[in-house]
């Protein structure tokens, strides 16, 4: 069975305002099989949206190509787009129009019409549980309700491939849970292929059949979750939050040498949450050990002895974030 999505050496370069070029996506090649949920995981600015914009026909690749269901997005864009449902991160709806009017309009853009269109609109409104609010303007909806309508637009024409770009950004846990369930339902109930981008490791872990990790415009890891975590071994990860006190560059290595069983220690300095903000994330030490819970008391003891204030401690099993950390030396949130 041919893959639903195939990318071949996709590249995208942008010209900066100073005239220099920046490569946002660098020769990305991967496949997405039919009926699977494929998550593209990476920090902000890694190139996820640029990559997906090329696959969905929003941006022309500088080099390379992608096919959707066998149709080239550059040579046969209309045929390729017919197979794809587009659910962007933004609420891509007309706020002045009602939920139903938005659905009718975008349905017509996908070639639907007449009774068929009305029937599909009724179906998706029921699916997102907003049939009773269908005549209300979008700008009267809550954030979560808007997200659901945003998703409904992408599902209206029953596409074979759904592209969802960080659909849970900025919504409450209840609506987030509903969306994650919906994604699984699309695969399990409607056999749709889902291309899901996120920077939240938990979402990728929960949803994905396969994961592609992207950083600096390149796919640095690709495969099932188990395969990826094996890449970093079976080590536990001990996260220790420190205060704002700076840690010398040589300190992680000195610390590692004092504690048996610890294979590596990485230091992440404190980071301001936003420019001009007084709030910041604390500095962290991340220690990898075969048995994290055994190494933890010794770690705390040494840090106390060296005068560091410990603000938080967490021991985690091997996960995608550990994979990202192991591959890049940075946390996913960076």
């Amino acid at each position: 069975m041919p893959p639903m999505v195939q990318t071949q050496k996709l590249c995208k370069s942008f010209r900066r305002s100073d005239g220099s070029m920046v490569d946002a996506v660098k020769g990305v090649t991967f496949d997405i099989e039919k009926g699977e949920i494929f998550s593209l995981l990476g920090p902000n600015g890694a190139g996820k949206t640029t990559l997906i914009s090329m696959i969905s026909g929003l941006l022309a690749p500088t080099e390379g190509d992608a096919t959707i269901g066998g149709f080239s997005i550059t040579q046969q864009p209309i045929e390729a787009k017919k197979l794809m449902g587009f659910i962007p991160q933004e609420i891509a709806l007309y706020p002045e129009l009602s939920a139903r009017q938005n659905l009718l309009f975008f349905g017509r853009m996908y070639g639907l019409g007449g009774k068929e269109l009305n029937r599909r609109v009724d179906e998706v409104l029921a699916f997102i549980d907003l049939a009773d609010r269908q005549k209300d303007r979008i700008d009267t909806f809550s954030g979560g309700m808007k997200r659901r309508v945003n998703i409904a637009v992408g599902l209206l024409h029953r596409p074979q491939l759904i592209y969802m770009d960080e659909p849970t950004v900025g919504i409450d846990p209840q609506n987030r849970r509903r969306i994650l369930d919906t994604v699984k339902q699309l695969r399990d109930q409607f056999q749709m292929t889902v291309l899901y981008t996120t920077h939240l490791m938990e979402e990728a872990q929960e949803l994905s059949d396969r994961v592609g990790i992207i950083d600096h415009g390149e796919i640095i890891a690709l495969g099932e979750q188990g395969e990826l975590t094996q890449q970093v071994g079976e080590e536990d990860r001990i996260e220790i939050g420190l205060g704002n006190r700076a840690v010398p560059a040589t300190y992680p290595a000195e610390l590692q040498a004092q504690i048996p069983g610890v294979t590596r220690i990485l230091y992440t300095p404190a980071e301001q949450l936003a420019e001009g903000s007084s709030q910041s994330t604390p500095a962290r030490l991340t220690a990898f050990a075969k048995r994290g819970r055994t190494a933890l008391p010794q770690l705390i003891q040494v840090l106390n002895k060296d005068g560091y204030e410990i603000q938080s401690v967490e021991v985690r099993e091997p996960d995608l974030e550990a994979v990202f950390l192991a591959l890049t030396g940075r946390a996913l949130r960076d």
């Binding site: 929003l58 609420i91 853009m109």
Partner: protein, 542 residues
């Protein structure tokens, strides 16, 4: 192709559901135009100050009318005093008989002085100066404007009060005289005068009644036809309308006098000459009693001739009586609108200008919404749909055109309704020619939308459009007369608003000469649209 219309319809749908946009697009121009209408349209007390001392140029080419020539005595160059016959055995002149039985004066019967010149009369009324050069019957009494009673010129006039102007014609017009019609028209074109009143050489002949002379089987008609031309400045349409109304009113009154005079004189002279004819010109056997001219008839003749000047004064109170056929109005589309009130005129002129002006804003900011579509990702969603990019572009362009056309239509309809409400009767201020109306609306919408496409295509950011767009609109508005004043036509024509307003004014006047206005708008609109669309394509990408 359906997708294009769906996109266009969506644009209109969004506009109608956006309260702020509706407020700016529809309510603001309606309120502005209505306020201007009340301010300048004569409903408020301050109206008169806007229409004082309007510069008017007068060209009087009228050569007058020889009464005696018309009653057939010119060949012998005789006055009625020279026509004698025996009465009770004694030779008696017709003049003596008339004077003995009526109040008619000797002067009135003199061939040299029996010359009417309505042109002089009209000139003296417009210039608000008494006639000093005595020339026949009409100059025996000079006009005294203090005695002029006219609803047009009084504050408390009744049904014909049009402008609520409290003053005299001296306050209303500043009249200069010229000898050449061409020079006068050129002066109006330059903007020196709001109108030129050109009295043709045969005006008095045109005005005088036709006298039939039954006695000798012949018939003498009036001389060569002459018209009055009111050559108005399209830069001052309301002032030109007022000039025309006053001129028309005066001429209309002349017409009334002419009809009355014709009826009485024709009757009397026919009776007189028939009897003379029946007597085979044997005037020795002629007896006044056989004339069958009643004293009342003679008194009517005498009274009409003798008191012509004063009788003109009171009827001038009906200056706006419609129906005079002696006027030819050049350039100004005033044929039908002259029956409207000042408020309606304002709504036509300023309302049209406001409608076109606000349409420019809609055209520009409607296209600028492409940036909003990008920001909220609806454009990206459309691009990701299986819709060809050219459909998206055309849909957006046609949608904007549709919105602008809808806006103009609604505004003009609203102005019509407001004018009707103020007037108290249905008033189609933009005429009843629906196809022509739609054509003009389309032409204005094409231009306005085309300008929007070009501006948004030309400037790189929405901020630039928001800065330069209003500047461009305001400049075109000022040139085209959207702010309550009009620049000379030579300057105003630079702005397509001028052509739009001109077309709408002509519609209101029921004129058919729209080709130039509509042609200019369509031509500019097409050019803007095509060039703009090429540039605008860049805005349709991510």
């Amino acid at each position: 192709m359906k997708k294009i219309w769906h996109i266009a319809a969506k644009e209109l749908q969004i506009v109608l559901r956006d309260r702020n946009l509706v407020l700016i697009m529809f309510l603001t121009p309606i309120v502005l135009a209505t306020i201007m209408g009340f301010a300048f349209g004569g409903v408020g007390d301050s109206a008169s100050s806007s229409f004082q001392h309007m510069p008017v140029v007068l060209v009087n080419l009228d050569t007058g009318f020889d009464l005696q020539q018309q009653i057939g005595v010119t060949e012998t160059n005789l006055s009625l005093n020279d026509l004698t016959f025996n009465v009770d055995g004694a030779p008696t002149s017709v003049g003596e008989l008339l004077q003995a039985n009526t109040d008619i004066t000797d002067t009135a019967l003199n061939a040299d002085s029996a010359n009417f010149n309505f042109g002089n009369q009209l000139a003296s009324i417009l210039a608000a100066t008494p006639l000093t050069d005595s020339n026949g019957l009409t100059s025996t009494t000079a006009f005294n404007l203090d005695e002029l009673t006219c609803p047009l010129l009084t504050e408390n006039g009744q049904e014909n009060q049009q402008f609520a102007f409290a003053g005299t014609l001296d306050d209303l017009f500043d009249v200069d005289e010229m000898a050449s019609a061409e020079a006068a028209r050129a002066a109006v074109d330059r903007g020196d005068y709001v109108a030129a009143v050109i009295i043709a050489p045969g005006f008095s002949n045109q005005m005088m009644p036709t006298f039939s002379v039954a006695g000798d089987g012949g018939e003498t008609t009036s001389g060569p036809a002459g018209e009055i031309e009111v050559y108005g400045s399209s830069g001052s349409p309301i002032s030109a309308l007022i000039v025309r109304s006053v001129v028309e009113g005066v001429v209309n009154q002349f017409t009334r006098i002419s009809v009355a005079l014709g009826a009485t004189v024709d009757s009397a002279v026919n009776i007189l000459l028939r009897n003379v004819s029946l007597a085979n010109f044997d005037l020795t056997n002629f007896n006044l009693a056989d004339l069958n001219i009643s004293t009342q008839t003679l008194n009517t003749i005498t009274g009409t001739l003798q008191t012509l000047d004063s009788s003109v004064l009171d009827p001038l109170g009906c200056l706006l009586t419609p129906g005079a056929s002696n006027l030819h109005v050049n350039q100004q589309p005033l044929d039908q609108t002259q029956t409207l009130d000042a408020f309606s005129y304002i709504m036509i002129v300023l309302g049209s200008a406001q409608a076109v002006f606000f349409a420019l804003f809609t055209g520009i900011f409607g296209m600028n919404s492409i940036y909003e579509e990008k920001r909220q990702w609806t454009l990206q969603r459309l691009i990701a749909s299986p819709t060809p990019p050219r459909y998206l572009l055309l849909g957006k362009l046609i949608g904007n055109l549709l919105v602008v056309a809808f806006q103009i239509s609604v505004l003009l309809l609203a102005f019509t309704v407001i004018a009707s409400l103020v007037r108290g009767a249905p008033t189609f201020i933009y005429g009843r020619n629906i196809p022509a109306f739609l054509l003009v609306v389309f032409a204005i919408a094409l231009f306005s939308s085309g300008l929007g496409v070009l501006v948004v295509g030309l400037f790189k950011t929405p901020e630039q459009v928001q800065f330069f767009g209003p500047m461009i609109s305001a400049t075109l508005g000022a040139l085209g007369g959207s702010f309550g004043f009009r620049l000379p036509p030579a300057v105003g024509r630079i702005s397509p608003i001028y052509w739009g307003v001109s077309a709408l004014e002509k519609l209101g006047a029921g004129e058919s000469g729209l080709a130039l206005d509509v042609g200019v708008l369509l031509a500019i609109g097409v050019v803007l649209f095509v060039v703009g669309a090429i540039l605008f394509r860049r805005r349709m990408t991510i």
